[in-house]
């Protein structure tokens, strides 16, 4: 039955695709199914080798990135005070524009696969970290009470209870991470690798080879979907029980003293500046392209024109980032709600969502911009496409965790699905929605800057690309600092909103 449904979906998709290719046959936008088949069959050996190379790099990055995420989440769970510093550092490193980090990693490592693996790891560690952190905290108070009654501390609680209880969340994170690792490895290959799907994609795009671009996009989407499904299947096997349902009482209002929070933020900022300076010095990076914090401050203080250029570019970028961010979240949460209300839609929505998310942004961004124009609409759409999928997956999981007892209470009063949704399921979705909003901040910025660089020619993305080709490294680093600050401010806004909402709906998530 399921195979039959999948077959029908594929058949419909191919027919629609063929129709679209026929309609757009004059443009360079859509390849025909026959063109893709011709390219794949005549280059099968090359494609298999490239896919294996990229998959291997992605797998290594996946492993390293997730190991880092597990260590960080464990540390923060045991030492909640460290959260702000660890989260802020993780966020900032995740926000570093790939246009800048890619070449730097290439310079540090020389030829080889290290940058691809590093970027794949960078693409996954943050999402896993956040998902795992939610999972490690998703523990009823009675469980930690049980551990305290036997005099066991936070480490034993982490090992015996939290680690196991977090598995459903960990696997939800790993599922999102699997396609992301593949995407990261491909972007890593753009920085000058010798083989891999990313190299072929770049070559196909530069040569305006539509058949090749579409073939590569389809192959990478297929691999990503398979990785997603595989991790999901392993998760189902390992978890093996219904996730824990938490009915936590609201916490009494916390004290209003803001100074410890500010002190932690200052500590995080200082730690990052130190990390920046020390990393540059340890690797003895050339001061010509590897600027230190002091260089950026001196440059921006001295040059009024530079400040203006940066400001104009930043405004353009923000005009696309914020609407795209919000519409992506809305789309993801909305689709998850739709799937809950119409469960049969899952079979159609999920594969489309995974495919849309896993086709590399490098290939989708120019296509979307070509279709929707170089204005804000195109960029906003790319951002929304980039972030709706993780939001959708997380929100769906959140909705499904609504306590059955509460749903039953509503059913005994004859409440309809919409009523149950509003009263029980959407509140249960809130922690997941905010966790995805946090992950979406860097993803939105990555999407906007990449689209600007590849397609629209506006904003800070293109400014970074231009300054790195004209060797204006002072401006490049100023851009990095500016975009990172934007990410931190957006993240802080999400955190603020989260505190307001979760204080009512999921107080166990607040520390």
């Amino acid at each position: 039955m399921q195979i039959w449904a999948g077959f029908m979906t594929a058949l419909v998709a191919i027919s629609l695709w063929g129709g679209a290719a026929h309609v757009f046959s004059e443009s360079v936008l859509v390849a025909s199914p026959s063109g893709v088949w011709a390219f794949v069959s005549s280059n099968s050996g090359l494609l298999v080798r490239a896919t294996l190379t990229t998959a291997q790099n992605a797998a290594l990055g996946f492993v390293w990135g997730n190991i880092a995420a597990v260590i960080m989440a464990g540390l923060v769970t045991m030492q909640p005070r460290a959260e702000r510093v660890v989260s802020a550092s993780a966020l900032v490193i995740f926000c570093l524009p790939l246009v800048a980090t890619g070449p730097i990693l290439r310079v540090i490592s020389g030829p080889g696969s290290a940058p691809q693996i590093a970027l794949a790891g960078l693409a996954v560690y943050y999402t896993t970290y956040l998902a795992l952190l939610v999972g490690l905290r998703a523990m009823p108070r009675s469980w930690s009470d049980l551990m305290s009654v036997y005099g066991r501390g936070s480490f034993m609680t982490l090992i015996t209870v939290r680690a196991r209880a977090s598995l459903p969340y960990l696997f939800a994170g790993l599922q999102i991470a699997a396609p992301a690792a593949f995407l990261g490895a491909m972007i890593g290959e753009f920085t000058g690798a010798e083989r891999g799907l990313g190299v072929l994609t770049l070559r196909a795009m530069r040569g305006l080879d539509v058949d090749a671009t579409w073939s590569l996009a389809l192959i990478s989407a297929t691999v990503a979907v398979l990785a997603y499904a595989l991790v999901g299947r392993i998760g189902e096997r390992l978890v093996g029980y219904a996730p824990v349902i938490i009915l936590s009482p609201p916490k009494p209002p916390t004290r209003r003293n803001i100074w410890p929070g500010i002190a932690e933020m200052v500590a995080a900022a200082l730690f990052l500046l130190l990390l920046w300076q020390v990393a540059m010095d340890v690797f003895q990076l050339n001061r010509f392209f590897a600027k230190r914090p002091g260089d950026v401050v001196r440059y921006l203080a001295a040059d009024a024109d530079a400040r203006l250029t940066l400001w104009v570019a930043l405004k353009e970028t923000m005009a696309a980032t914020i609407p795209g961010f919000l519409s992506g979240l809305l789309l993801g949460a909305g689709l998850a709600v739709a799937v809950i209300l119409f469960p049969k839609a899952t079979r159609v929505v999920l594969p489309v969502a995974v495919a849309l998310r896993s086709i590399p942004i490098i290939t989708t961004a120019p296509l979307i911009v070509l279709a929707l124009g170089r204005g804000a609409t195109g960029t906003i759409t790319v951002v929304a496409v980039m972030i709706f999928f993780p939001t959708f997956v997380a929100c769906l999981q959140g909705l499904r965790q609504a306590p059955q007892q509460i749903i039953d209470v509503f059913h005994t009063y004859g409440a309809g699905p919409v009523r149950v949704l509003g009263a029980a399921q959407i509140p249960a979705m809130m922690p997941a929605l905010f966790a995805s909003a946090k992950m979406a901040v860097p993803a939105a910025i990555l999407a906007v800057t990449t689209t600007e660089w590849l397609a629209t020619g506006k904003g800070i993305g293109v400014l970074m690309a231009l300054t790195s080709t004209t060797s204006n490294y002072n401006m490049l680093w100023s851009c990095i600092v500016a975009i990172t600050l934007v990410a931190v401010v957006m993240y802080a806004a999400v955190l603020w909103a989260e505190r307001m909402v979760l204080a009512i709906y999921a107080s166990e998530q607040l520390t």
């Binding site: 009675s142 049980l146 551990m147 036997y150 196991r164 219904a242």
Partner: protein, 254 residues
């Protein structure tokens, strides 16, 4: 009349014990000494702070003022020795562990041997369900598993927060008959919160009646019957007059 096996130096002294949440007093000040080896029932109106009192004794919450001393140790030190255990209102079973593994967890956490697990499983009537997971059990069965877990470590101090709340009447009667000899044999000091006055009179050697929030002691009654106590006791005059005494202290017209 039974002489409780008093363990010298292990009594629980609560001195000036007070708990406030956001400046509002929920409990105390309470000055109570629980005698070692004795079973004490705490009864009081709903929401008066009985569970809070139990959490303070367990060291799960810190008092706003006053102190809890178990022998010469703090609750946390007793917990570290693995000499404390508690059955919560929520059974707090880990969903990925089987019944047997959940019960054995009590011994493991207290660093004791889990030899008694099978006997306890039989005692609480869960034989045949050893390999089931909590999701496959009824509410009452889960609570019985939680009770077994609290007993498996043979604690010196056993805290029970409405342990029989969702256990069916039949099993409840059986547990009422079989559990007290067990925890008395082990000389455990037992403090039990209960809503059932019958249960308090039947199971305990002392009943402390607490007032409305903030809880203070309104009555402190000793309960002495011939041992072993049986369900037949309930129909007797002595039982009924003791029960009436507790109800009057609770403000119920008898």
């Amino acid at each position: 009349m039974r002489t409780p096996s008093i363990v010298l130096g292990k009594e629980i002294r609560c001195a000036g014990l007070t708990k406030q949440f956001d400046g509002a007093a929920v409990l105390g000040p309470l000055d109570i000494t629980f005698i070692a080896g004795q079973t004490t029932a705490l009864v009081g109106p709903s929401g008066c702070g009985k569970s809070t009192f139990l959490r303070l004794i367990a060291g799960l919450d810190l008092p706003s003022a006053g102190s809890v001393c178990i022998g010469s140790q703090s609750p946390k030190e007793v917990a570290k020795r693995g000499a404390l255990s508690m059955a919560f209102q929520d059974p707090a079973l880990l969903p990925w562990r089987t019944v047997r593994e959940n019960i054995a967890l009590g011994a493991k956490l207290a660093r004791k041997s889990d030899n008694g697990v099978d006997d306890l499983i039989a005692l609480v009537g869960l034989s045949g369900f050893e390999t089931h997971r909590p999701a496959e059990l009824s509410g009452g069965m889960r609570q019985r598993a939680a009770i077994a877990r609290s007993l498996v470590s043979e604690p010196e101090l056993l805290l029970l927060d409405e342990p029989f709340g969702s256990v069916d009447a039949l099993t409840r009667a059986r547990l009422n008959a079989e559990l007290p000899p067990l925890w008395r044999k082990r000389a455990a000091t037992t403090i039990m919160v209960t809503h059932s006055v019958d249960e308090a009179v039947l199971l305990s050697e002392r009943i402390i009646v607490l007032s409305e929030r903030p809880a203070t002691v309104v009555a402190d009654l000793s309960v002495t019957f011939d041992e072993p106590r049986t369900a037949k006791l309930i129909d007797g005059h002595e039982f009924q007059s003791r029960k009436a005494q507790v109800l009057r202290a609770l403000g119920v017209a008898v």
